[in-house]
């Protein structure tokens, strides 16, 4: 594997990690808000808190890692996105900051305050929506030149059907992933009421997820035929993704094996996400920036890869420990340690 490919693979893996862990978090915020407005928050809140408390900071680091890695491996990309995305990037940061700080404050009694539920629920939807805009921008056609510097064409972005289909997909996927995971977690915690409610959420959001995926396919065809043609070449990945979805749905309907079901959900999104990424290559930003033109100096690239491997040797065992203590430890999950 050459350096540009290795760099983008590393980054993509971390972005995938962020998408899964953050979806669970964002969706949880929305569900707890929704349950609050319909008077059912006592059912799901405990489950949500027990899982999220130890891991929310880890979720955030996935994102930081992606951003910093992008600057490191592909400095030109950072330059283009940085200049063009001042406003959407800042708005995204404000949302993320509100959410993060409120989450910590919630430990000290503001949890039952309506403001907390509002902020937590609403940002849970707005953040993925705004993040998905960056993927849209990467498809090209939304960055113009003013003088010598890149400029975001906000009007085109906000009126593009493609952009909105991606936002739609992001929202329903967040809710689907999250509901599925929380149903699994609730079941493991032997909290049957919560599991039942969350299962119904997961079922509710399953079909819209597939519908939105097809919508995005169609609108990519309209917006960027080159990318669409590439996607067809890797169509087996998308078929695998669909198969995983069907498997996950079957397990959900059968009311058993949510654990395996969730693994299938993760695979569903992994196939789709890597299929999307693979067919996007070599472009990072259509039509001008590719992984080959924007890659960093080779000495720096090599040192980043070495640093990455060393870091991973430290990180993987620690992550496993974290999961063992909080996710796979039935007694913790059932709340027996408090």
């Amino acid at each position: 594997m050459d350096l540009p490919l290795m760099g983008i693979t590393i980054l993509w893996v971390f972005l995938y990690g962020y998408i899964i862990t953050a979806s669970i978090d964002f969706g949880a915020g929305f569900f707890s808000f929704y349950c609050k407005t319909t008077g059912r928050e006592h059912i799901v809140n405990q489950v949500i808190e027990r899982y999220l408390s130890p891991v929310w900071e880890v979720t955030n680091v996935f994102l930081i890692f992606f951003v910093v890695g992008l600057i490191g491996f592909f400095p030109d990309t950072a330059y283009y996105f940085g200049t063009a995305a001042l406003v959407p990037g800042s708005l995204f940061l404000v949302l993320l900051s509100l959410r993060g700080s409120f989450y910590a404050f919630a430990h000290y009694g503001v949890r039952d305050h309506w403001l907390f539920h509002m902020v937590y629920g609403v940002t849970g939807l707005l953040i993925p929506a705004s993040l998905s805009m960056f993927l849209t921008i990467s498809e090209g056609g939304f960055i113009g030149q003013s003088g010598s510097s890149p400029q975001l064409l906000a009007d085109e972005l906000l009126t593009s059907p493609y952009a909105w289909s991606v936002v739609f997909l992001a929202l329903v996927s967040v809710l689907f992933i999250s509901a599925y995971f929380l149903a699994y977690y609730a079941k493991k915690a032997e909290d049957l009421k919560a599991a039942k409610l969350l299962r119904s959420f997961a079922l509710f959001w399953s079909l819209p997820t597939i519908f939105a995926s097809f919508l995005v396919f169609l609108s990519i065809y309209e917006h960027n035929p080159l990318h669409f043609a590439n996607m067809l070449e890797h169509s087996w990945l998308f078929l695998c993704s669909f198969a995983c979805f069907l498997g996950a749905l079957a397990l959900l309907l059968g009311r058993d094996g949510y654990g395996w079901g969730f693994i299938l959900v993760m695979l569903q999104f992994a196939f789709a996400f890597f299929g999307y990424g693979l067919s996007h290559l070599p472009y990072i930003l259509y039509p001008s920036i590719t992984i080959h033109t924007s890659i960093t100096d080779s000495a720096m690239g090599r040192s980043l890869v070495i640093g990455f491997i060393a870091g991973l040797c430290l990180l993987l065992p620690s992550l496993l420990l974290l999961l063992r203590l909080f996710l796979f430890d039935a007694r913790y999950v059932q709340g027996k340690w408090r």
Partner: protein
């Protein structure tokens, strides 16, 4: 002062960093004190110290969370506001930036484990052990980010050919001459400030009439730590001064209003500058002190601003910032020493109110010293963003709406600060500690 793109971007950067650093410094320092307290508690089998660690941990999660969100803001804002600089930095100094995220990762994981496993292990030292990776992670992240900032002051490890960066040596760039002095001084000042913040909480309780051994022990522990960390801060500040004299003499000269290259240079505290004659009036002169700070010898030669073209002079106001930092540093050193002597004198009638008030005051002062030190250091780098290579004005974003983003973020930080204050106050007032003592 003109509010152009560059100025707006500078203001927004400094607002974010100035806000972040308070929480970041506490995030680096408090785990050290928590770990010491838990260790003492286990070793002496003393419930008081264990409770101390537990209560600090609970309060600690608030600054951590704010540190995380403001830190995320900086990480993105650096690219959003300084795209040209980050293109260069991305080529030359990405390694420590990248390693920093690993350090965060490491810290985040073990903090989660440490926070949620208090009663889970039969062997108490096992839980204590989990505090070590937290300290390691946060201190390492401070080290890595400081080496990025040090690179801005003393860039090396690359060559510039036709405006492009080539021949990069990542390790050389990371371990530039400014890294040891900056990282060490910053890390110890974070430890010292954190110790004072915790000391102030105990002192406040004692001032409000408590005489419980819990608070006396907390005060003794934090004040002892504060003394040693402040001593290390001051000693490392001396190293930082020697670094400046050798590599960035213009920064030191501007900080000291030292206009003429000279031997046996005095250190001037305070004073008013006469813009015509470049003479300093009303200042307090400490003979030879500047030569000693800069070179280690009273006879040492200290470069003055006469050696630097005026276009490259840093803003001269940094003199006051430097003085403020040093004055507070001395206060932080003298206070614990005086307190201990004072206690001896009074033959253990419990700490006097005056001392307690002075300790409470030291907490905001030590955080102020960190802010002063930073603004001094960053203003003193002007007009450069990368000393000798890139000017700040050539690095700022060309995007529109920076002014509106500035207002947006100021509003955000004010809001977070307000909620944070309410929450911390609530924590302080509710849950009296003795309800938790078994």
């Amino acid at each position: 002062m003109e509010l152009d793109q560059t100025m707006l971007a500078r203001i927004l950067t400094s607002v974010t960093l100035g806000f972040h650093i308070i929480f970041a410094a506490l995030g680096v320092g408090i785990p050290v004190l928590i770990s010491i307290a838990e260790w003492l508690g286990i070793r002496r089998n003393d419930q008081h110290y264990l409770l101390m660690a537990k209560r600090w941990v609970r309060g600690f999660t608030v600054p951590v969370a704010v540190g995380v969100v403001t830190g995320t803001c900086i990480a993105l804002q650096l690219s959003l506001l300084w795209p040209s600089f980050m293109r260069v930095a991305g080529e030359a100094i990405a390694l420590p930036l990248f390693l920093e995220t690993f350090a965060f990762f490491f810290e985040a994981i073990f903090l989660g484990i440490y926070l949620y496993t208090w009663n889970r292990f039969r062997q108490p030292y096992l839980h204590w052990l989990f505090s070590l990776p937290v300290i390691l992670g946060s201190t390492a992240s401070a080290f890595f980010i400081m080496s990025v900032n040090a690179f801005m002051n003393a860039p090396q490890g690359f060559s510039l050919v036709d405006g492009r960066i080539v021949d990069i040596q990542p390790l050389l760039a990371m371990f530039n001459p400014a890294t040891p002095s900056k990282a060490g001084h910053m890390i110890f000042s974070s430890y010292a400030a954190s110790a004072y913040v915790l000391a102030a909480i105990a002192a406040l309780r004692l001032l409000r009439g408590s005489s419980h051994p819990y608070h006396l022990k907390a005060l003794r522990l934090t004040l002892t730590a504060a003394f040693f960390f402040s001593l290390a801060t001051a000693l490392w500040g001396d190293i930082a001064g020697k670094y400046l004299a050798q590599y960035q003499p213009e920064k030191l000269a501007a900080a000291e209003w030292h206009f003429h290259t000279d031997r046996r240079a005095p250190l001037v505290l305070g004073g008013v500058l006469d813009q015509n004659s470049w003479e300093v009036n009303y200042g307090l002169k400490i003979p030879y002190a500047l030569s000693i700070l800069a070179t280690g010898s009273a006879d040492g030669l200290v470069k003055g601003l006469d050696q630097v073209p005026m276009a490259y002079w840093p803003p001269l106001v940094i003199h006051y910032l430097f003085d403020g930092m040093v004055a507070i540093g001395i206060y932080m050193l003298v206070l614990p020493a005086g307190y201990v002597l004072g206690l001896r004198w009074q033959k253990k009638r419990g700490p006097a109110k005056g001392w307690l008030r002075a300790i409470v005051l030291a907490a905001p002062l030590s955080l102020l010293a960190i802010e002063l030190g930073w603004i001094f250091s960053e203003l003193g780098r002007q007009p450069w963003i990368l000393v000798g290579y890139m000017k700040t004005e050539h690095a700022a974003t060309t995007a529109e709406h920076v002014d509106k983003m500035l207002l947006l973020f100021v509003g955000l930080y004010l809001f977070i600060a307000a909620v944070c204050t309410v929450v911390l106050r609530k924590m302080f007032h509710e849950r009296p500690f003795d309800s938790e003592l078994r």
